[in-house]
Every structure is written in C-alpha cells, then in structure tokens.
Symmetry: C2
Subunit: 460 residues, 2 copies
C-alpha cells in the first residue's frame, strides 16, 4: 500500500474550494474577453533550447526538465535534456508570437491562463506549480501608448468583479524615473544600480538606502539623494491630485517629459474609461523588472491587506521576442498569480467556502419515484439548472443533510403528500424556507430565485 | 537567433481555433455541471512512487519524468526521478479520492478536464500532450448500478450540444460477456485470452479469429466458436430492439443473468431520462480494458465517421484505489480525449473556424473620437458584450477588413454623418447588413441580435 499524497509545493483543492477557485478563473477570463483579448494556450513542455535562451541565474536554476523513460534509460546526455516545463507565460508568448507572426493580426491582444512551474525551495506559501493569468498586447514595429491605459482598466474590472476588497493600481514610468535620474546627474549603467537600491526602500527603510547611496560605489551628493527620496515618496490620492503631483515635479530632461506625458495620457484615458479614481494612483517608488520594462509599470495592492504585496504587476517593454525574431515586437502586459492570491485570500479569511456548482438536488423517497425524478431532473437541466439526482432512496433528513453539507441550495421533494396536492415542495437551504410550486412552474421559479439573489450581488 | 518552435506531438492553436476548442471545453464542462458533477484539478506532477504503482509495460515506458536543475546537477540517481507527469486522469483520481477520502461525500461525482502526458512515438495525429475530459462516480463500499445509466445520459447531452453529427453510445457488459463465455464452457483465465482475440474481430475479421480460436492454445469446438461469433455480432437498432435482442440471447449462467438485468435497467433509465433511442445501442463485440472494467462498458462513435473510432469510452470498475486505500471504492466513468477528437474533426472538416470571442469592434475615425469610443466600449461591456476598441484612428475600410478577418461580427461606427444624425451605425458582418440605432439603444440591440441567432441554433 502506497501513501496517497501530492508532491510538496502544489495546491490541490477539495471540490468546494475548487469551485471557488474556478469562479475566480471564470471571472478573470470573462473580463479579459470583455476587453477583446483572445485566448492562447501553449504546451506545458517547451524545447529547452528554445525556452532557455533568455534566462540566467536564479530562474535557470529553477527550471524543471522533462525526460521520457526511454531517454532516461539511454543514460545521462552531455547537454541539458531536450524538454523543459515553462516557468512563466512570457517566454512562451514570445515564442508563440514569433512562430506565428504571419498568422496573427497586430496589435495582438492575447490572454493566457495556465499553470507554470518553478523548482522553488519547498516552503509554506511558495508554489512549484501555480496559475498565471496574463494579458499582453503586442504591436509590430510600434505600439501606441494608448494601450498602456487599457491594461489597468481591465485589471480594475477584474478586481471589482472578484469583489475581494478595495484595491489600488499603482503607476510609475521608467522614462519618468530614468529622466529624473538624468536630471540629478545619474547616467547610463548607474541608473540601474541606483534603481536597484531605491527598490529596497520598502525593506531597508530610507536611512539605510541614503547611507548606501552616499557611500562608496555611488558617492551621490546629499542634495541628489534628497531629490531621489522626495521623488520616491510621491503618492497621489485621486485623479486631480495625480495630475497635480506630476506637474509639481518641475521640468526635466526630454526623457522625463516623455514619461510624464505618457502618464498624463494614461490618467486621461482611465477617466474616459470611467475607471473610479480610487482605483489608481501614482507611486513613484515602483521600479520592477529592471532590465525588462521600459515604460509604464503597474503594481496592484489590496488596500486593507498591504502585507500581501502586489497581487497583479506588469508594464511596458520594448521588444518581446528579440531571441526568436528580427521583427521589433513592443508590448504591454500584466500578470495575476492566481494560485498565490487564492492561497493568501484564504489565509486572510477573504475567500469562504463557495456554494456548490450544483443548484438543485432532486430527492428520491422510494423506488417508485425514480422515473419521475429522472425526468424532472432533465427538465430542470434543460432550463439551465445544475441538478444532482438522488438515485437511491434514503431518508429525507439524510438527503437534506447531504445537500446542506455539499452547499447545494435547493432540494426538490415529491412525497405522497405533494403528489396528493399536485405540487412539488422546494426547500431553499440558503434562506431556510420551504414552499410549494406546481411542477410546470418549478424550473422558472428556481431560475428566478437564483437570478434575484445574483442581482442582489450575492454569489450565484 | 533561435528558431521558435514547439516540441513534436503537441497541439498549439491560432486564436480562432483556440476559441473553437475553448467552446468545446466550455460545452463539455457546462454539461458535466448540469448533471451535478463537481470539479477537481490535480497537479500535473505526481510523486513517481505514487503514480507508478499500478502501471507496467507500455504505459510505464511512456512516462515523462521531471527533474529540477538542482537534481540534474547532482547527477544520475540510482532509482527513478522523484517526480513524473500524469499520463491519465484515472490514477490521479484514485490518489485524490484515497487521500481526501474523509473529506468527500460518497457517491462522489467528479469531473476533471486537464492535459495528460505520454512519451508516444512522434507521428501525425499522435499527441504527447492532450486534454482528457473525464467524469467518474465513485462509491464507498458499493455503488448502485443506477449510476451506470447516468453516464451515457451525460455523454448524449454533451455530444448533442457539441453538434458534431449523429452519434451512438454503444453498450456492452462484462458480466454478460463472461457469463456467456461460461455458458459455452470457457472459464477462468481463458475468458481473458478469448476476449483478447474477440477484441480483434474488427481488425482481423471473423475468419481469422475463428481460425485462431480453433487452433492450438484454444482448441474451441466449432459450435462454441459459432456461438461466440453470433454473440459478438449482436447490434440493436432502437430501444425495443435492444430489449428484444437481450431476450433473444436465451437463458444463461447467474453471472450472465446479472449482466443482462443490469443492461435492462440501464436501457429503462435512459428512456426515463428522455435520451433519444437513436443515441444508444447494444454492441456485444465491445470488450475494452481487459483487466480493469467489470460491468457495463461504453464506446461512442460518430455515425458518419466510423473511421475515427471511439470518441468517448469507459465503463464500470470494482475498485478504484486498491493501491492507496483499504476502502473498497467501486466506480463508473468515461473519458473524452478532446485534443485527438478536435484534431480529427478538423481533419474531417467538421470544425470550421469559429467566430471571434469578440462581439463588437468600436471603430475610431479620428483622435477626437477617442474619449467617446472608450466610454461607449465600457457601456457595451457593462451590458455583457465582448468589445475591442480601436485605439488608433485608421481608415474605416481597414478597420472593417480587420474585423472581417478576425471573425468579429459587429463594427460600431460614429463618423461625422452619424454624429449629425444623432445615431450610431452598426455593420453586421455576418449578415452583411448595416443599420443605424440611437446610442441609448445600442447595447440592447446588439444583445438581441446576438441572442436571436443563438436561439436559431447558429453559433453565438
């Protein structure tokens, strides 16, 4: 006998949690589709040679390689195995766009919601297999900055519909940042090393970072450091304040002005899209993916749960697929790490066990009722309800108890009494009510009940 | 520069094909949920020790093992690698049910739609990564034969809704088969070896199989062989004929009678469930999974495309998880290999390129129209439509051409002329019509148009 168990670092859910998770996936997908993004799925296994052109250091150490029994038996090969599991959805996107370049229409809006794999050290809350839900827009040769505003509008819609609490999409811009650095005399490579230190403000605190920047290797003047700190402290509160804060930064280099103009354009477009102004803010301390992003960058936080950190991040990049294509493919995108998010929401008590995906249990009191129960179940299904049929008679109390534990809302009962009165009894376990309906109206009644609560904003 | 390409044996789709594939997945999932099946997802990687208890021979040779960079660097280990990719959804189900036995309610109806991995020889139409869409009902200690009839009812609903042509769910029963063998004097192990030969009837033809059964190793008498052939030729046409064909088999052993009674019960229940009688038939030549299934077995074929073979198969088994649990867990289930099915439907011209998941393109004629286009897009989205906004102005003809190629049905236009007349123009590319509506009625109009065609049975 083998002990049944999963490997460490994976999240496997019981059915009711899986239903809750699936509803989040569905909401995200539906919202992505609302904004015109098209679905892409890529194989979990890529050719190692193709997958690993771009990585180095930490990521490469975390790659999972795949070998068939046959390959293993042949013994260790000299190089790396032929196949590897994807560790994100960005490299497969780059490969996909380059491979299918001539069959795609640009700008190409795609969403992809699949699992990715990383050989992380096993540790609570760290996952070796986890869902990423990505959207990206890829242009050919160029991509209008207008797409930079669509991304946060999608994300705002996603998190509003997920209803997991107030959130803020924080915006910064690499051109604004680097242009500001230029303005205080920080040029070229030093911009990246300074950025790397600034990125530690949250963890190390202002004093420690000041000290580093003044010290050997940086030798920044006190007034330059002061300006950097003031810049990184900029946060906006509301739409007009964001514009005012941008104005208050004074004049700067051409790069700085370009970044500021693009940020202004994003703010203007977010307003035109009707995104509530509480949903977005400037946060000029955000840096992200130092050697990857080149324009706007996004981070999203839950207002009541800052400790969770960013739940959705991304930004603009200059060239997606330089390893695979001579075409220039600029893009902008964002990613939700749903497995980690779900895990943390559960830890914080923000996701509770969902009602079942089953709407109705058609109960069965004796064998004579089977044919009727089966036919009735089919009629309810035809009306769009999810129905479980009790196939073996049991005591009604047991069937009720089962439905209650399973999170099934309605139990339909047709006992001697109901038959005599020509009705069907419905027990609504959510409301704790029982009522009678004539059979011809049962499907419509249950649909309406379900719909009403949905409109009231309760989970359906 | 690396050539961007996928490994052999995977199916990667362009967006419009992915949309068609996704619609099939959605239809299957929705139908599974209609019948009260609950979602389960398991990790793609299982512990090798847990995954490979049960397999042997061909399957084990096809397993993909997984190793992180770190594990590879440590060098070849003596035994097999710690992790392997699942090669079906049945072994993970067994592991899942045994692991979570005390948290699940039995009978446990679960569906699972995920990809599985097999190191098949690379060959056209053979996949190393493919979707399986499985349903199973697992009982604890026992499981009523009534569940055997629910499975084909689900499958009938799935294939009716997929609308890929007429199909027949073919039924046989291992007890009927083995009981019949007993009746002609074939006992014990010989039942399996004879069954294996009978299973080759399709490929080898009756004469060749007769010869084998008469020859060394079998030594069956001519009249026994004749009876076997007559049995295997039994096909029914319609509900009453199925019952009559069962009656016409004469009396048999206790095992035979038990199998026949269960088949009669299944037929009776399929009728009560309102499954059209053209959708199911007896086919007493079906054997399937020789050492696994113990009761009813199912195979589904497309009436117009017998060469595709079974598109959905399964049956009843006695004990799901004997390697992981002391509990007896009988079950019944069925599996659709969707990747292979989609591939073959496409080869046969039965799946055509789908309309886009995007319903509406909001066009943009000049920069002044941007704010309005964005706001209008959001209103249409709020009404449940999937909307792409043209963010950079282009010639209208180009935007039309783009929508047409992308399979987007509606293009919404607001030029000078429309502004002057206080309307929005809608081009319906599917119908080749253009009409005007006032803006306040646009969302409702597009919804109704979409809904009408859906009700008429056209793809929505």
């Amino acid at each position: 006998m083998i002990k049944p168990r999963t490997p460490p670092g994976v999240m496997e859910l019981l059915p009711r949690d899986q239903i809750a998770f699936q509803r989040m996936l569905d909401t995200i997908r539906q919202t992505f589709e609302r904004f015109g993004f098209l679905p892409v799925e890529t194989p979990v296994m890529e050719l190692s040679e193709v997958l690993l052109t771009k990585t180095g250091g930490e990521t490469e150490r975390q790659v999972y390689f795949v070998q068939s029994t046959g390959a293993l038996e042949k013994g260790a090969t000299d190089g790396m195995p032929e196949l590897a599991l994807r560790f994100d959805l960005t490299v497969p996107l780059a490969r996909y766009v380059a491979e299918h370049e001539h069959d795609l229409a640009f700008p190409f809006r795609r969403y992809q919601m699949q699992r990715v794999y990383r050989g992380e050290r096993a540790q609570r809350g760290r996952f070796r297999e986890f869902y990423q839900c990505d959207i990206d827009v890829i242009g050919k040769d160029s991509l209008s900055p207008r797409f930079d505003a669509e991304i946060p509008a999608v994300i705002a819609a996603v998190f509003e519909r997920l209803a997991i609490g107030d959130f803020t999409i924080q915006l910064n811009h690499r051109k604004l940042l680097r242009g500001y650095f230029e303005g205080v005399g920080i040029e070229g490579e030093q911009q990246f090393t300074v950025l790397r230190e600034m990125d530690k403000l949250d963890k190390r605190g202002e004093d420690a970072v000041r000290e580093t920047l003044a010290g050997e290797g940086f030798n920044l003047q006190a007034d330059a450091i002061e300006k950097l700190m003031a810049f990184a402290r900029v946060r906006s509160n509301g739409h007009d304040d964001a514009l005012a804060k941008l104005d208050a930064l004074g004049t700067g280099t051409a790069l700085f002005e370009q970044g500021r103009d693009e940020l202004r354009g994003i703010l203007q477009q977010l307003r035109a899209l009707g995104v509530a102004e509480s949903r977005y803010a400037l946060n000029l301390s955000i840096a992200r993916g130092l050697d990857y992003y080149t324009g706007v960058v996004y981070e999203t936080t839950l207002d009541a749960h800052p400790q969770i950190g960013s739940i959705c991040s991304g930004g603009r990049y200059d060239n997606l697929a330089s390893h695979y294509s001579k075409s220039k493919l600029p893009g902008v995108g964002i990613s939700i790490g749903l497995t980690r998010l779900f895990y943390q929401l559960r830890e914080a008590g923000l996701v509770t066990t969902a009602e079942s995906s089953v709407d109705v249990l058609v109960s069965l009191l004796d064998d004579d009722g089977l044919a009727h129960a089966l036919a009735l179940s089919q009629r309810l299904r035809a009306a769009g309800l999810n129905v479980e049929t009790q196939l073996e008679p049991r005591k009604l109390a047991k069937q009720m108890q089962y439905a209650d534990r399973a999170g099934i809302r309605f139990v339909v009962i047709r006992g001697e009494d109901e038959i005599a009165r020509g009705v069907i009894a419905v027990k609504d376990l959510r409301r704790g009510e029982q009522f009678d309906v004539v059979e011809t109206e049962l499907a419509a009644t249950l649909q309406v009940e379900r719909e009403q609560l949905r409109t009231q904003g309760l989970p359906a």
